[in-house]
Amino acid sequence: MPSILHNFSNTIHQLSENLLALEGETKQLDLTGLAGREWFEILQRKLIPQLSDNVYLVVGVVGGTNIGKSVIFNHLVNQQTSAISPLASQTKHPVCLVPQNFEQKHDLEKIFQGFKLTPWSAPEDPLIEDEQHLLFWKNSESLAPNLLVLDTPDIDSDAEVNWERAERIRQSADVLVTVLTQQKYNDAAVKKFFREAAREEKVIITIFNQCQLPDDENYWRLWLNTFCQETGVHPELVFIAPNDRQAATSLQLPFYPRTFEPTPSHSIPETDLDTADTDTSANLMNVISQLHFGEIKVQTLKGALKYLVQQNTGVPAYLREIKSRSHEFRSASELLSEQELAEIDNWPLVSNSVIVDAVRNWWQSQREGWSAQIHGFYNTLGRGVLWPVRYIHSLAAEEKRPPMELYREQEWSVVLQTVEGIYDRLTLVSELGNELLTNRLKTLLNGTSREALLKTLHEEHAEIDFTAQLEQLVDSEMTFFRTESPQYYTFMKQLDRIAAVARPALSVGLFFVGFGAVGHAGSQLVTDTMIQSVVNVAGDVAGGAATTTVGETAVSSTTATGVGFLEAKFRRFHAVFAQKRTEWLATAIRKHLLKSLPEELKSAVELPNSQYYQAVQNSVSELEQQLNELHISI
């Protein structure tokens, strides 16, 4: 009895909830949603409503268009409930006959999810054209209790919405009354529909309609056998009906029961002589009412459960799909993070004199009392006296603009070069053929978004106060220096000499790391996890920086080597300033160009480790285990 199946109900509910949560997470994977996947529809339409409910049997009459489904349905319920027409594809909505008081004990809305339930009023009801999925229902006194009988739309006409409705009925049905004809038993659409039904272990009752008796008596087994071989269907019962329109319209069509056992070969299955064919018509309603409801229910629910946990078609296939898609994302993001997105050989440097000025100013502000005044006086005097000299000097050097403006321009040029390089790199990556990246990058790479990016960058760049940044830098560096170093005063004294020191050549690399190969290797370099951009300032700065930290004592002994030390110190200003600037660039590019792409990729990659994924996986294995136990207990 299905009571043993009640245990599954909890697991199924859990599974369903987790699946929906997982679906929310998978949006970024560009996967098709759950709706429309056969196993999910079965879960929703069959398992959830039927596992926890009392036993009732859903019987659907299904088949291709214009082969007499409605005729057979009418015969089955013994009344003209569904209108019949010589034209094809007329029944557009399912009709359901419901036993007395059934709707009080069960929730029809829940049983037929996704259909708008409408009380039946006339046989022409199912013919109306309506975008909604309607289901017309009607009470019937003659129906056995706990039996629902449905007429369905076709599965092969040019109105594809009909297929969908028929499929929904198939998913929740237990018994399918399969109508076949000699023209349609081998049609691709028909075979496809019933192949699914066979996989879901539905109970199949076949009615071979419109046979030309007695000629076709010799052929229908051949036809049906082909059908069974192609679809894997194993009909419980077989009836044949003659091609008799008169009888069909007046509810007089006879259904001759036949025995049939499919054979694997193409030969005609032998007629079982013991149970010779009779010409006595069977009453279809009686046949169905006498079915073992409980056993059938267990069979179909078990079939549905098996379908659900099956490796190739069920949830595991979905999980695999997520995993492989996530893997694709991994390779996509590796592709992105392996590429050093930008390489800048010659980061511009602020002119030495500017730094010297900044240090001087800082020095000035550090002094106190009379000393500051005196120095201030001499400084002003010096400035006045030296002005013509400086002016001439500046003319000769052709640096008529303020040096910071010059720097700004140079930096902008480098920014442009970098952006250009990044675009080239991204174009290359997008052409490498990873579809996921290609689609995402395409919009990033088009002209309008480039224009927008340049505009934002330009605006941000124009707003930056370089002088203030430099002052801040000098302040922090010098404060540190003063407390740490005995060379402090020497440095101050030699400032002017330092201004003439050659400026270092800086090269900078920018990575935008999601994770992956480079991400791990360079993880120490990640300055800020939010930014996740690695700035790597290299070149002869490195040497200089080393001198600053290591050579402290070595340098302090003699003044001669002190100059080298001071040079190194000075270079450090350049390097740190460049570092600050490249950090800005990296952040800006992250924010305005790549946006959330790295994060999206990352979370997509990590999806198979997410809580919902694991939960779904657990539910499935639990279900499998329960199914195995059930198998053993039976």
Binding site: A88, S413, E420
Partner: protein, 615 residues
Amino acid sequence: MPTSEIAQIEMLAAVDRLIHQLQSWSEQKTDWKTAQQCQAVIHQLLPRLDTLRVRLQSPLVIATFGGTGTGKSSLVNALIGSYCSPSGRQRPTTTDPVLIAHPDTDLDRLGLDLSQFQVEQKELDQLRNIILIDCPDPDTSETNDQSSNLTRLQYIIPLCDILLYTSTQQKYRSARVAEELKEAAIGRRLIFVQTHAGLDEDIRTDWKQQLSQQFDVPEIYFVDSVRALEDQLADRPLQKDFASLQNILSTQLGKSERLQVRRANLLELIQNAINHCSDKININLPAIRELESFLKQQHVSLTRQMSQELRTELLTSRNLWERRLLSCVSDTWGLSPFSTMLRVYNGLGNFIASASLFRARNSAQVALIGALQGARWIGNRQKEQATENRLNRIGSFGLDDNKLRESQLLIDGYAQAAGLESQPVQHAGSLDKLQTEAAYFEEQFLYDAGSKIDAIIAKLTRKNSGWFTRAVYETLFLSLVVYALIRIGKNFFYDSFLDENNILAIDFYVTAGVIFLIWTGFLVMMFTRKLKRGLGLEINQLSDDLANAKLSQGLFPQLEQTCQQAHAMQHSLERMGGEVHQLRNEVATSNILGAWKVTDPVTDADSKTPHLTSQ
């Protein structure tokens, strides 16, 4: 020659011309990927058109088409009046197509691979004009593997001229068959037949309604093939619908109709391909337009920037203006005391300028020096110091590297989005190339500016140095000279001889010289000031003119060309579409055959894409 024959020949020529145009269209070289794809489609089509043209005169190939069990083989048997193609009850019955032809028909000319068929030759009158093929069904196969019926069918269909589409009450709305028919019907005539008349009800009205959404449906025949065959074997009279179907196939599709059918098929194939390509191109054209409008915008902004720069330069280069104006005046005035004076001043100035010219700070000064002289100067400069100086010049003129780089970045994006092959714009050294382009762009601009400046100078000169001005200045200039001469003359001839006064001392001459210098300097200054009257206005006018002037090419001439070509290709495709549409209307076959419905994509596309906006 009878007129009908001339009309025929005319039509043939028109079709040939059209195919020729298509061919040359598909052979154009273009960087636009969409166009390349379309060209590939046309390339695929052309050989098929050739085979169609070759067999224009041979019997029509008629094939059955319809779902399994709709009685295709039965119909074929009934049509030839004997059991020829096996019809049966196991589905699918026909897997190998059967080809039935008259023994006199030369099958080799059809270009069919006969090993694919079971060939039957029948000595029947109704087979003189046609070849019948009984095809497998399209609707039992679920996959497209090699041995499936669908694959076999898809091989045969392109070889047919007419499809005999059979269906039944059960099958006439089958989605699968309809889908296949949609593909198969293009380039073929259709005859619609409802079979199983003995068993089924007549659904032709509903079917016709369904079919009419996509096809022209002149008539649907409702036949009972089994009965028709029996009737023929027993020499009974045939049922009406079957008789007329047989009549059409055997008699009406004679030689005259043959050409019509084939030509209509040919045109339909062409039309279909052109429509396909047009759609594709129209979808992708907006991206090209975007690129174009961006190119234009770049062009405008560069020109504007340059003219702005030119204006400031011109307004500050006072000395050059004066020299040019003065030399112009002295040239027009010819030899006279004051103009000689001007020339001397100018010559002195030029002497200094010639030294400074080769250190000319910017291009605006070059433009000002004069178009001719400037061009010569540019030419020499180019030869001597190619890139470096040019870059400096560009830098001083607003077209600096950053600007160029920005342009390039954006253009790259637009070009990529438009689906242009990247090779013309991208990669190493492209900035150098761009700089060269920019230099040419600038030269063009300067040449333009130079000739305009010449005009301004001529105009200012004319305006400000009329005979009255000349008279005044000559008088003023001469008055001092004359006064000094009189004074000296009087002193020399009269005072020193008669009054016995002393001859004028050297002091006098020094003072006179100084006064002369001051006087002439004053006059020249006044004169140049007068000449320059309205100069500012003219310069503003000039820079506005230049900003709006259309230079023949921008910074990205290659891209501009590609865009233009894209438009040209679209236009010619549209034109061919229109032509083929017109031809198809002219060839319209008699009303016994159905066909794929003629759509009118050309006018449709016209209304949607106002391609004049780009100009």
